[in-house]
Amino acid sequence: MDIVLDKDVLKENKDGLQADEEEIERKIRAQEVDKELNLKGKVCPYTFIESMLALEEMKIGEVLRVIVDFPPAVCDVPKSLKNEGYEILDVRPVNKTDWAILVKNTEFK
């Protein structure tokens, strides 16, 4: 499976607050999340909508881990969430079919 990740949707400013960066890195490494959403078997745009609905109910700063297996969702979900103002922390394959998207609920608008 060939999936080209849009680097732009991943966290851009690596020179941000050091403590914050370390905390994010730690969460990514530990895959420590506040909520996990299994969207295997779901297609776009429902993958995005369900991710957004979950984030809308979470507190600012909390991290959501979304599991998708629909290939276009690997690019589209992070891109759409980023457009909405959420922060994409990480996108990586977890096995042959599934990808994990780590997204942080941020204050915006």
Binding site: P45, Y46, F48, I49, E50, M52, L53, E56, N83, E84
Partner: protein
């Protein structure tokens, strides 16, 4: 409220829009919109608001469906001829979206009932076709502090505005303090109307209602849009609160609702039963 799988699928194409999302969809499902008239303007407006998932729609019209309505009043079908327009409208809206609660008022709106009706709604759409009703609805919205989205059509022309005097904007009477003398402005049954013009203006009203509910975009409050279908031209004017407005001005003379009467000549074969008969 948690969205069901079916709701997510039904509203997915608007939930993905910036400014809507789950929060906006929730606002829509909690919204209560009153539509005055289940005719040319009320039909498209009601259909699109129901389709968008507006939770409660009120429809008021005292007329029954007649064959000459079907050229533009798309809530109704040929098989609905003879039914009350609100019953026919309710049937159409509920078959489109069973989640929507449709409240119907098969009665002529007057000073005696209009305030009680609009009280239960957040937003009012005026799709009436006569000046007595138009002024009555404007005045009731002013007294009840309801946002009024006003549309009107005749021949190939349409107009649109939003009135929010409670938020500092003008009201309908700021533009037109009193109804014109009966007979001066022809009715649709005298002058005719292109069905698509009704659709366009009714949908502009639905569009503005959705924006007001969602709190997005630029409101039409303080703006007045004129549309001409033959040239496909739009003219927009700025409108301001009139300090001498008899309703919302500095020294208002109108303190209560007024039932105007309107006598109009008709080329229709059916004689009018009352002097304020609505024809749309």
């Amino acid at each position: 409220m948690k969205f069901s799988e079916e709701q997510i699928h039904r509203y997915s194409r608007q939930m993905i829009l910036p400014g809507v999302g789950g929060k906006g969809q929730r606002k829509l499902s909690e919204a209560k919109v009153f539509i005055m008239g289940a005719g040319g303007l009320g039909s498209p407006a009601a259909i699109y608001l129901a389709a968008a998932g507006v939770g409660t729609i009120g429809l008021a019209d005292s007329d029954h469906v007649e064959i000459h309505n079907l050229q533009r009043q798309i809530l109704h079908r040929t098989c609905d001829i003879g039914l009350s327009k609100v019953e026919s409208g309710k049937k159409t809206l509920e078959s489109l979206n069973p989640e929507v609660k449709v409240q119907i008022y098969c009665e002529r709106v007057t000073s005696a009932n209009i305030q009680r009706i609009v009280e239960g709604y957040d937003l009012v759409l005026d799709g009436s076709d006569n000046f007595p009703t138009r002024f009555l609805v404007n005045d009731a919205c002013y007294f009840g502090r309801k946002t009024l989205i006003s549309g009107a059509i005749l021949r190939y022309d349409g107009q649109l505005s939003t009135f929010k005097p409670h938020a500092g904007g003008p009201c309908y009477r700021c533009l037109c303090p009193e109804p014109p003398p009966p007979g001066l402005v022809p009715s649709c049954q005298e002058a005719g109307v292109l069905g698509a013009v009704a659709g366009i203006i009714g949908l502009f009203q639905a569009n503005e209602a959705l924006k007001e509910i969602l709190g997005i975009g630029q409101s039409m409050a303080g703006r007045f849009l004129l549309f001409n279908a033959l040239n496909l031209s739009f003219t927009e004017m700025k409108i301001q609160k009139n300090p001498e407005c008899p309703l919302c001005g500095e020294n208002p003379t109108i303190k209560e609702l007024i039932d105007y009467t309107q006598s109009c000549s008709t080329r229709d074969t059916t004689p009018l039963q009352t002097s304020t008969k609505t024809c749309d």
